[in-house]
């Protein structure tokens, strides 16, 4: 169980809120029901959907309907109005006239309730050489024991090992909020004598998740899309080197456009505070020097309070986070803390003076989890999708040109069919090809061309003017 997942103030209000509105227990169900029916359509744009053009019209509809429902509910007496945790922003407590007040400011509440019911998911990837404390850190971060049955390989087995990708999923619940946490591990990374392109399996995995999502999205049945995209990658930098090693640079450069990279300085109890500072500065310089784009914290809005801004600035200055992990609890100064017991002292994991573990946890879990997901969705996935569509279009155009360039359209059509992949991809996009449920396929889409390649590309029309020739 995650303790102290939420800040204390939020916690109290949330508790009250949840108490008042558990599950589906709402006052005046008749009034709110119709709006609830449309809410799934309303919520999805916030979370998953990309095709906004198709959605806009329906969203306006639902908003107006919500408006009607809510204005009817605004006739209710004050006491039975939903009380939001956003105390001072609660529109119901405003002094405005009820008649001029529309009431869709409760939308966040509704989103919140829906999300609570649905639960959240988060996929975290850890990468780095073995022996840097990745598993221990994950256990410390989420206070679980995901790696209980792990067997460490000895050197001979390691010589044969190639980079694998393993996934562990765990469901955690705290104060009614459910989190489905998936940790993607990369054992074997950087361990061999020759590590050329050892990041390729990792990059391929990330691309595969994007591709699977892309295909699911373009499929007919989109109710239960599973989002396996990697939201964040914690990259462990060894504290024993002098800054970044060539392998670190190559890995980060290969992945910075695919996933949010958060660099971490592992096993920071090897270093004195002075050394930590030097290493951090050096790593930051090198990251800039090599043009690596790590995850940037979103800039603070000017209306955030001072404390939040300070906290944010402190976070930015701490990259890479110097962390220590521990699976054991030791006794220090009469308290039981997570830490490591040395003959010369005790290192406490959650002591901000000892390491940046608390900062990392704050950032990852308490403040920036949603932002990480948003950036993955809006930037990395969009990049992938754009590239994918572009390359598909190019292939289709090439094929069409070839086909029409040949003599005898039918003959060309036949030969065109022998290159099924671009045709099949185009069909998939237009949703022509049945309701195949999403299956994790290898990168090359299987060929199932039931129609000629010339027919099925209306949806690509805005991108490539050539297609109107069909």
């Amino acid at each position: 169980m995650i303790k102290r997942f939420l800040e204390d103030t939020e916690e109290a209000e949330l508790a009250v809120f949840v108490k008042e509105f558990p599950g589906g227990d709402v006052p005046h169900p008749e009034a709110i029901c119709p709006s609830q029916v449309h809410l799934p359509a309303l919520l999805d744009p916030c979370e998953e959907s990309e095709l906004k053009e198709c959605r806009t019209s329906s969203r306006f509809q639902t908003e107006s309907q919500a408006h009607l429902c809510i204005s009817s509910s605004s006739m209710l007496s004050t006491s039975s109005r939903p009380r939001s945790p956003w105390g001072r922003l609660d529109p119901y407590d405003s002094s405005e006239d009820d008649k001029e007040y529309v009431g869709f400011a409760t939308l966040p509440n509704q989103v919140h309730r829906k999300s609570m019911k649905k639960g959240f998911d988060f996929t975290l990837m850890v990468a780095g050489e073995s022996g840097l404390g990745k598993s221990t850190l994950i256990n410390s971060l989420f206070l679980t024991d995901m790696y209980r049955d792990r067997r460490l390989l000895n050197s001979e087995e390691r010589i044969m090992q190639t980079v694998e990708i393993t996934k562990h999923t765990v469901d955690i619940e705290e104060k009614g909020v459910k989190l489905k946490l998936t940790v993607v591990d990369t054992p074997g990374f950087g361990d061999a004598v020759n590590n050329t392109e050892c990041w390729k399996p990792v990059a391929d995995y990330i691309d595969q998740q994007f591709e699977q999502y892309f295909r699911d999205e373009s499929g007919l049945n989109r109710k239960n899309i599973q989002d396996n995209r990697v939201h964040c990658c914690l990259y462990f930098i060894s504290p024993f080197g002098h800054g970044l090693r060539p392998l670190d640079v190559e890995f980060m450069r290969a992945l910075h456009h695919r996933v949010n990279i958060v660099p971490i300085l592992a096993k920071a109890d090897t270093l004195t505070p002075c050394e930590v500072e030097h290493k951090k500065r050096k790593i930051r310089e090198e990251i800039e020097h090599f043009g690596i784009q790590i995850y940037q914290f979103p800039a603070c809005d000017s209306d955030e309070d001072e404390e939040f801004k300070l906290q944010d600035q402190a976070l930015k200055d701490s990259i890479p986070f110097a962390v220590i992990g521990s699976n054991t609890v030791v006794e220090a100064k009469g308290r039981r803390v997570r830490g490591r017991l040395y003959p010369w002292g005790i290192v406490e994991v959650e002591n901000p003076g000892h390491c940046d573990f608390v900062k990392l946890r704050t950032m990852l879990v308490r403040t920036h989890m949603q932002d990480l997901k948003d950036v993955t969705r809006e930037i990395h996935y969009e990049n992938y999708r754009a590239q994918c569509i572009q390359s598909m279009t190019r292939m289709v155009v090439k094929e069409r040109n070839r086909k029409y360039g040949q003599e005898g359209g039918l003959g060309g059509g036949q030969t065109g069919r022998e290159e099924p992949t671009p045709g099949a991809q185009a069909e998939l996009l237009a949703g022509v090809d049945g309701s195949r449920p999403s299956t994790p396929a290898p990168s090359g889409l299987r060929a199932e061309s039931r129609q000629g390649p010339g027919i099925s590309l209306p949806s690509l029309a805005p991108i490539s003017p050539d297609l109107s020739a069909s």
Binding site: E129, S130, G131, L132, L152, L153, N154, S155, E156, R158, I159, D191, A192, V193, N194, N195, T196, S238, F240, G241, H242, R245, P246, L247, E250, K267, D269, T270, L271, T272, P273, H278, K282, R340, L341, Y342, P343, W344, G345, I346, V347, E348, G353, H354
Partner: protein
């Protein structure tokens, strides 16, 4: 003449430890058998004193090589071992510092003096080892360097007019730094040690041991020892070279319990309990380098310097060098390589020497063809 004869016969007699009747020698020498009585004090034991005096006058040299990934504290450890700035630390924070693309070999010599004894210490550093993405065969430059030193010594030895005291640049000890992952040896570590344990004395060390708690240290050491054994890697002190029972027990103890030494290096001093000690200061305590409960640096220092220094040199000379020499002479058809009489041609041949050592090193790859004498001694 008679004295000369007597002396040679005495040597012979002494080696056989048999008393035999002889004409009265000029110097009264009665060989000592086991159990025979000394009629008086002879003074043989003063040889120790004579050797000491000689050594103090000539000094001696010691060549130590450090191998390991960058950042494992090699330079700091050497500085700590010899309590002086013999190794220019590569971790100078202001300087722009690059990882070399190939493994370089840098040898820096210093003369240290203590108690009237002069030591010419050479520290051979190997920056770039294990730092690249592709580290295949990164031990080859190191192997080549070691064999080159043997070659140099061999050439000097077979010279007709050779120096009284051949300058010894052979590597006596190679400290190999193991990264304290806490899991096991890395494939690169195994490869390196497999190739080089036959050519030089390797002393494996666990670097930056302040990463590990006591239990982790014990477990890691056990695992490392087991892996070294499973892979047939003989690190120094090698089992096969233990000369007598006393050596064996002492070395066994070291081999099975202490090695590989888990060390921490530091060249900064802090005040602890009123004393100034070398150590590292962290927010949770001060790690004392010479405190045996904290790390095993003191054991390493005693091992390498105070008890086994001479043995390291001897094993290098008597075993590793002899192996090399035998192989080279075999390749040459039993004849030594061309001597310094043709120094000029030797010099030009040196130019063609550099690409060749791999042939010498990998015995199984050596062509078996005999070489005619008079040709430069390369197969």
């Amino acid at each position: 003449m008679s004295k000369g004869l007597a002396e040679s016969r005495t040597e012979l007699a002494m080696s056989e430890l048999v008393a035999e009747p002889r004409p009265k020698p000029a110097v009264p020498m009665k060989p000592l058998g086991i159990g025979s009585n000394l009629l008086g004090y002879i003074g043989i034991d003063t040889i120790i004193e004579q050797m000491r005096k000689k050594t103090m006058k000539t000094g001696f040299d010691f060549n130590i090589m450090v191998v390991g990934q960058s950042g494992l504290g090699k330079s700091t450890l050497i500085n700590t071992l010899f309590k002086s700035q013999v190794s220019r630390k590569s971790a100078s924070w202001n300087r722009e510092e690059k990882i070399p693309k190939t493994v370089e070999i840098k040898a820096i010599g210093h003369v240290i003096e203590e108690g009237g004894v002069k030591m010419k210490l050479t520290v051979i550093d190997t920056p770039g080892f294990g730092d690249q993405i592709n580290n295949e065969n990164c031990w080859e430059p190191i192997e080549k360097y070691i064999n080159e030193q043997y070659e140099k010594f061999l050439k000097e030895e077979v010279n007709i007019a050779r120096k009284k005291r051949i300058p010894d640049t052979r590597v006596h000890c190679c400290l190999y730094f193991i990264s304290p992952t806490g899991h096991s040896l890395r494939p690169l570590d195994l490869e390196f040690m497999k190739h080089l344990s036959k050519v030089v004395n390797i002393v494996p060390i666990i670097a930056k041991a302040d990463t590990m708690t006591l239990e982790e240290k014990m477990e890691f050491k056990q695992r490392v020892r087991k892996e070294l054994e499973v892979n047939g890697i003989e690190f120094y002190p090698q089992k096969e070279f233990d000369e007598d029972l006393e050596d064996k027990t002492e070395n066994d103890k070291i081999r099975q319990e202490s090695m590989p030494f888990a060390v921490v290096g530091s060249d900064k001093e802090y005040q602890v309990n009123g004393k100034r000690v070398l150590g590292r200061k962290t927010p949770w305590g001060i790690i004392e380098v010479e405190n045996l409960t904290h790390c095993e640096f003191a054991l390493l220092r005693d091992f390498v310097i105070r008890t086994h220094l001479q043995d390291l040199k001897e094993v290098t000379h008597n075993i590793h060098y002899e192996t090399y020499r035998a192989r080279r002479l075999n390749d040459n058809g039993g004849l030594p390589p061309v001597s310094a009489g043709t120094a000029g041609s030797q010099g030009t041949r040196d130019a063609c020497d550099s690409p060749r050592p791999p042939v010498l090193v990998h015995l199984d790859m050596c062509p078996a063809a005999p070489v005619a004498p008079g040709v430069c001694g390369r197969a």
